[in-house]
Structure formats: C-alpha cells, structure tokens
Symmetry: C2
Subunit: 347 residues, 2 copies
DNA sequence: TTTGACAGTGCAAGCGTTTACATTTTATTT
DNA sequence: AAATAAAATGTAAACGCTTGCACTGTCAAA
C-alpha cells in the first residue's frame, strides 16, 4: 500500500525546512537564504517565507545546521560549579554579551576536576561550540593540545597572565592578595592563619595562598608559622576550619580567607565562641559578593569585577572568532574594600 | 593533481567515525555499535575500536547523532535567571541526577519573560532536547500547545498543582505563605506590608502575595490596608522598597517579603535608619537560602527543599521518557523556620 | 535586436551519524 | 562433511540543513 513519499506527515515532529518550502511554494534553498542572508532574497519572497515560518513555528534543526554550515554561533563555557555566586554572576554577563551578538551559550561544569574538564571540552566541541570560555589556567596538557590541534579559539577568565598559552581576561590574584595581606600586617597582626579553597587544580586559590605566604615572609614570618587549612567552598566548611584554628594554642589574631564564603563561615564560628570581630580577631575575604556587605560585621575583602570580566570575556572571544589574530587579553583591576572585619591587632 | 578521496586530512577538524573505522580496520557501523550497544560486538573487536577511539580522542558529533537517532539524551531546562541562588541550587541537583543517568543538561534563561521563554523552548527543541524542565505554570498558550503538539515530556518545578496541564514537582506557595502570615498575626502584628518580586508572569510570586492577603482578611484586615511594593530580585531593591514603607505615616510593624533576598534588603534599610529588628519591626523572608542564616538578625523564613526538588524533577522527567504514562508529579513539604527577625508587635 | 551582466532562484551534494537489511563468519547439529 | 542456525559485521539509506553551481529572467548598453 504505497504512500506518497513527499509531504508525508511525520506525526509529532518539528516542522522541517521542507515543510516551510512546500507551504511557501519555494525551494528549500530559498527558505534557508531568507533566514540566513535575507538580502539575497527579494522582499516579496522573503515575507512569504517569513510568514510561513511564523505560522508553522519553524525553527531550524540545530544539528543539521551545524553539520551543513560547520559553525553554530554557539560558545561553550566550562565553569567549576554553578553554585558559586561569582561564576553565576560572571556567566550571566557573559551570556548577555553573547546574546547581543546573536550567539548562544552552552554551559558545562567540571566540579574542579581536570579529568572531567577534558571530557566536557570534548563534549562541547562535539556539540558544535565554535569557541570556549575556561576558568583559570590549571588544566591538563591534553586539554590545551586539543584546543590547539583543532584551532578552537579559547579564552581563560578569572586569571590573567601575560605569557599565557591562551588569551586571558582577569586579574592578578597574587598581587591582589599580597596587597590585602600587607594591609593586615599594617594593622599590626603577626599571628595569621589561612583558610583556602582546595588548591589542587585551582590556580586562583593556589596563587592567593602563595601571595599571603610571600607577603608574610616580607613581614618577617616563616612559612611554618602560618597554619593553612584547605576546605571546599561553603559557609559551614569555613566555620569548621575557623573552629579548628581558634582552638589552637597560639590563636591567630587574623584569619585570611581565600573567598568571602569561607570568611563568612569563619565569622560565624567566631561569633559562636563569643570572640569579637574585629576587636579580638580580624577576618578577611576575597571576591566582594553581596554576602560580604551583609555579614556582621561587614567583610574587608578584595573587590573583583565579575560582571565586567564576563562581558569582556565574551568580547574577546567574539573578536577571536572574527579572526583578529593574537589578542593579548585584558587585565582587570581589583581593589581592596575596607570594612569592619579588619581591625588593629589586639595587645 | 588528484588526491585520494578517502582519508583526506580535513585539517583541523575533529576525528569522525570514518577516521576511527579506518584506523581500526572495521566499518562505521561496527564503531557505532561498539559505542552504543557494546554487547552486539565481539570483545576483541570492541577493544580494538575503543583503543582507537581513545587514541584519536574521538567524540561522536552530536548533531549528526541526534539527526540519525532522533534522541539525544539531553534534557533542556528554562529557568528565569541563573543569578537567583535557589535556581542555581536546584539546577545543580537536577544536573547531578541527570548525570547519574547519562543524560546531559541544556540550560536557557528566560529573564521572567513569557515571550522569551517561547523562543527558548523552540531553541531547546531544535537543539534536540528530549524533554523539558520548566519553572512555574505561568506561560503562554503557545508554549503549552507546542509541547503538546510535539509530544515533548515536560515537568514544572517550583510550583505544585494537582490539576496541572503537565506534571509538577514543587510545593504549594499559597499555603506555605498563609501559614507564615498566620504566624506573623499570632505575634500580634496588625500593620503589615508586603515586598514582592514582580507578579506578572510569575505565579510563585503572585501566589505568595495572594496568600498574605487571604490570611490578612481572615485576620480582619482589608486589602487596602496592606501596602504592596513589587520590585525585582536584589538586596538593594529590597532596601529601597523598605525605605519607602518605613517612611509612610502609618509605619508597618511587620514586613513580609516574597523572598530572602528582598528581606535582607529590608533588614539593611531598617538598620540604616536605626530601627531595631525585631523589637520595633519584624521582617520575614521566603526560601531559606544561606543568606537567611547569616543575616543579622537571622531571618524567619519558609524553608524550601530546592535540592530535593531538582533531584525529583529529574527523576520524574526520566520516568516520563521511559514511557511511564501520566505521572501526577510530587508535592514537597515546606516548613517555617523561626529565627530572630520575627518578634512580638511593639505596643 | 542582440548581448552581457547580474540578481534571484532551484538543484543536488555533502555534513557525520544510526540502523534496517544483507552478507559473512562462527558454532551447532546431523 | 554438510546443513542449519545464530552471531558478527558490512552496506547504504536516511536524518535536515547549507551552499556551490547552474539556470532563468530582467535590464542596460551596444
């Protein structure tokens, strides 16, 4: 029992370019052109096509388009986790800038695992990402090779280095943290401790810890004098780490935290032991997220322009895709925000 | 100058299934099977293929696969915004559950705009999403029609209704807020005000406001007695709205906020005017995000199990894809968390 | 009128997979 | 050893789109 081969009603599937072409009485090529390069098509035809498109609710199948055109106007981003407000914020700005340029964002998260990131890169490329946004420089050799071999434009955000394998947009975590530590020293603190996010596969965290140690050495302290606790990003972990530190025999007078979330946890712990901040203990953060202002007392921290970074990352990537050769990237300025959590060292 | 047509080196593009087949000395069909249904292939061959795949760093082109197989193991989610911690959190859990089942997540954000959401739905479907996670019930007729016409499984999260057009996993915003409002009344408050997120296209926000008004009526108040300010989600907006309310002639003794972020803003405003919370003013939130515990004083709020919701949403969707007919969805329980921001009404 | 030049449109190849169906190989039974 | 069944593999046709090339018609210049 033969059926007409064309125009068969594939029940329940999206309308195709054929459906549109047929309904509009033109060829698929014309439909495609009306959509992708409107000025190659005479207005009358174009309108007819557009109306049909609207009527049928047609949207080009992405996979098919990617295969035929070899580009997707899609940019992939791999962030460690969505739950960290700083990434969420930067990514939102990133996405907005892409949107303004008719690009779409594809997000994956790596949970701070190098191995997972390799896989995500492959996945995003297989999905047709034209370019990639990555966080920080710490990643496998394979990853860099892959990007290089396939000539995929990539930009690193949240870290900046002049001599980097890929252009970067970010700030110098080291100098920012050194400056903050100097300020802590100027307040007379000599017993300091560090609470940091895990530093493996996280160059931002590592740089910050390193900077504190360097500044401390300049201030005459030994590396061994400074307790360091590494713990994953969360208020409770910050509180636990601080609890540990505050029960040691030589209690620190200042705790320098790798980010605001850990710092807020430390604040919470101090409060629970009745230790007054900043009179008896100073605490600093990093990032300047909203939490930092709300904390009691408000946090002294390093302000990072996350939104700006996302926006610039997008711009840089789009420029790279436009073939504008080797752009160096862009360094952003951070600044210390002094609030009440940092005070003079107690006698 | 003729070149061999096969095995030509398309410079800089990802390895294809042909490359793998050739290198492994088998047909593309075998490679495909080794990857997708390993037990249809004899172990020896399978290993050979797998090794080649690893060596070449091959990942199947997603678009091509979607086109040929008509399913993608991809689920799309459209959330209002990533910047809202509650969605970020729920989505993370959603993603984790999908990952456990070899599914991938595709995220889009609608910025609370119905029109944009329609477009995003089309985009996600064009990109091959097998099913969709949506937030709340408020959306265009078109959207529902589209889902229905194409038989796309969808689940609504963050709201629950028995008689919904699609299964939902969430909680009853109205009864939760009514309960909270009752508690406020029991503390003796009679001059209350509302700060809410914009209620257009946001049934959660609308339900919460409605619930306050209902509870207030039950307590003998007129609708007109209760000032309502709608303002977008941000601490500063919450502060501004509270500032406005606190300068009115009949200053409220309790401000009920649609979410924790607005409530924290209100808290901030009160503090800046030297108004003591809860002695002179009570403030409540909704969601119970971390901010609520950190706030000073800590917020009385409604605890919502965001992670649980994300996880269940994923489960429900996967069940639907498995063809398990009309599942009703799942209602989650919320509970009020009493903290210090709610106190007895001042004389 | 003829001739180009050119704008608008159509034809059909190819993008990288999956999967019926066909074919070959292997194992089992006689 | 032959016959048969079952398992493994190969062949080739879709899937829905873009785009080089070919074609048709229009208009201006010769």
């Amino acid at each position: 029992m033969p059926r007409p081969p064309t125009n068969r009603r594939r029940s329940f599937s999206a309308p195709t370019i054929d459906d549109v072409a047929q309904a509009a009485g033109v060829s698929t090529a014309t439909v495609s052109r009306a959509l992708n390069s409107p000025d190659q098509v005479v207005p009358e035809t174009r309108n007819k096509v557009m109306q049909t498109v609207a009527k049928l609710g047609y949207a080009p199948n992405f996979g098919a388009r990617a295969m035929a055109a070899k580009r997707t106007n899609t940019i992939g981003a791999i962030i460690p986790t969505m739950e960290n407000a700083i990434f969420a914020r930067g990514l939102q700005a990133f996405q907005e800038e892409l949107g303004r340029n008719q690009f779409t964002l594809l997000v994956a998260s790596s949970s701070y695992q190098t191995k997972l990131e390799d896989e995500q890169i492959r996945t995003l490329l297989a999905r047709g990402a034209d370019a990639l946004l990555l966080i920080g420089f710490a990643r496998s050799q394979t990853a860099y090779q892959m990007l290089h071999a396939r000539q995929i434009p990539a930009v690193v955000a949240w870290s900046y280095r002049e001599d980097a394998p890929v252009p970067s947009v970010g700030f110098d975590n080291k100098s920012a943290m050194r400056e903050l530590t100097d300020a802590v020293f100027e307040h007379g603190h000599r017993r300091i401790a560090i609470i940091s996010a895990p530093t493996t596969d996280n160059d931002r965290a590592a740089d910050r810890v390193e900077a504190v140690l360097q500044a401390a050495r300049a201030g005459g302290l030994e590396r061994a004098d400074i307790p360091i606790i590494e713990t994953p990003y969360s208020i409770d972990n910050g509180a636990r780490a601080a609890t540990d530190l505050l029960h040691r025999v030589k209690r620190p007078t200042a705790i320098i935290c790798g980010n605001d979330v850990l710092a807020v946890g430390a604040l919470k712990a101090a409060k629970s032991f009745g230790i007054k901040v900043p009179q008896e203990l100073s605490i600093t953060g990093f990032d300047d997220i909203e939490l930092a202002q709300i904390a009691d007392p408000p946090l002294t921290t390093v302000h990072v322009p996350h939104r700006e970074m996302g926006r610039l990352g997008a711009k840089l990537l789009l420029e790279l895709l436009d073939g504008q050769g080797a752009l160096p990237g862009r360094e952003l300025k951070t600044r210390i925000v002094f609030r009440e959590s940092l005070g003079p060292a107690p006698k």
